[in-house]
């Protein structure tokens, strides 16, 4: 297979945690040193494999948060019923190592050569691969017009909050539409409730400037948003989705 030869085999290698950042009470970013990292595209993910001392193994996939050109970092949300995520969020510390392979995925990716406008719609930790795209976009010389529609339960649950807010303030061309679904801080004047038809219509571009859309979040969120965009007349082939599920 010619393609496989070009991409190379995805072998397991040891990643070392060099730094960690607590993003929210349940979400942590792990900055990794992967000696033979081949580089990645915005939107790709890695597989992580943990091995217990009796040989028991568990594998999970995590989206890459950093933009192309930087070392990979993964942002992990601790799931109540999780097996791997509690370890990565609560237990791992700088200097620890685990097995990893990647980058993986060739469809839910965005490179600025693909142009825009760009509509990014995130539900909860679905922001992670979209953040890689936002960071990639910010680093380009001619950033495409971009809207980020981000649904979080509360303001405290907004991952990368300072950076997202700063992007919306400083970087021309990023419009942030934040909606809070569970509770709002006093004086909140932004959107509330789930991303529905009204919010999508309100934040849409005129028909002749229809964006390339990336939607990432829990299954029900992605189903609702993708169907909503199709109902507004977006071409299905311009809507790329990634759904989070499992523990």
């Amino acid at each position: 297979m010619a393609r496989a030869a070009v991409l190379g085999r995805l072998t397991w290698q040891l990643a070392e945690v060099v730094d960690t950042t607590d993003e929210t009470a349940t979400v942590r970013t792990l900055f990794l040193d992967v000696p033979a990292w081949p580089g990645h595209l915005a939107g790709q993910h890695v597989d992580v494999r943990l091995t217990a001392d009796d040989g028991y193994q568990a594998e999970r996939s995590y989206s890459i948060a950093t933009p192309p050109g930087e070392a990979p970092a993964i942002t992990v949300q601790r799931l109540e019923d999780g097996e791997v995520s509690p370890y990565l969020v609560d237990e791992v510390r700088p200097g620890d190592r685990f097995e990893l392979r990647g980058p993986i995925g060739g469809y839910f990716v965005w490179d600025y050569s693909q142009g825009g406008p760009l509509l990014l719609v995130a539900g909860g930790s679905g922001i992670v691969p979209l953040m890689s795209m936002l960071r990639h976009r910010a680093a380009s010389s001619d950033p495409v017009p971009t809207r980020l529609v981000y649904s979080a339960r509360t303001l405290e649950d907004v991952i990368y909050r300072d950076e997202v807010m700063a992007l919306a303030r400083e970087s021309e061309g990023v419009q942030l539409v934040l909606t809070l679904t569970r509770s709002t801080p006093p004086g909140w004047s932004g959107h509330t409730g789930r991303v529905g038809a009204d919010l999508l219509r309100e934040t849409d571009w005129p028909e002749e400037q229809r964006p390339l859309s990336y939607v990432c979040g829990p299954t029900s969120f992605v189903e609702a948003v993708a169907s909503g965009l199709v109902a507004l007349g977006h071409a299905p082939e311009r809507i790329r989705t990634e759904r989070f599920g499992g523990a």
Binding site: M1, E91, Y107
Partner: protein, 201 residues
């Protein structure tokens, strides 16, 4: 030699029957969804299933004709490349053998095609001899759109992306044309027991 992750114990599931969970997979009781784009909703009166191929007479079934074919209950374990496995899932479907019964061909591969432009490639021997179905019911109910309804391919011995959702037909071929995920980094064959997830596995 695997690297031991300091302090990792994991949560072994005692109810995981030996020999039924492939390497790197974990059991789930949910039915997670993975799709590349929006869920298509093709009305049944516009739905058809087609078998095409070079040098063969195309065969086509409307929904009613398809549902009039002999179908069978299927109970199988399924394994998604995103790492979840689900045991003893129950389906109702038409065997691909039944669909191919009246078709003279010597194809070596099939490319399944779906609403939304999704395709996936399989060797012919992996969809014949009772190994694959076009399933229209799950758990005794009509198959929901987000899980591939009205009908999806069911090829349980391969990673579940090979079980194309919203399937509309099979293209019989001599060559192994990469499908959608196969063109986007995923393995051409996808045997979960050999952990053939990605190119080069």
């Amino acid at each position: 030699m695997n690297f031991i992750s300091r302090g990792f114990r994991g949560r072994r599931r005692d109810d995981a029957p030996a020999g039924r969970v492939p390497p790197g997979q974990y059991l789930t009781d949910d039915f997670p969804v993975l799709s590349a784009g929006p869920t298509p909703h093709t009305p049944l009166d516009q739905w058809s299933f087609t078998i095409t191929g070079e040098g063969i007479e195309p065969a086509r079934w409307s929904w009613d004709e398809f549902r009039a074919l002999r179908s069978e209950p299927v109970t199988v374990d399924i394994h998604c490349v995103t790492k979840w496995s689900k045991l003893d899932t129950t389906w109702e479907g038409v065997s691909v053998d039944t669909l191919l019964e009246a078709i003279e061909h010597d194809a070596r591969y099939v490319l399944a095609f779906s609403d939304g432009g999704y395709t996936t490639n399989l060797p012919i021997e992996d969809v014949t001899d009772g190994k694959a179905w076009v399933a229209f019911a799950y758990g005794g109910e009509p198959l929901e759109p987000e899980h591939g309804g009205p009908a999806r391919l069911l090829v349980p011995h391969l990673y579940f992306w090979k079980s194309a959702k919203w399937v509309r037909g099979l293209n019989l071929r001599d060559d192994d044309e990469p499908g959608f995920w196969e063109s986007n980094g995923y393995h051409m064959y996808g045997d979960p027991w050999r952990e053939q997830r990605y190119w080069g596995d």
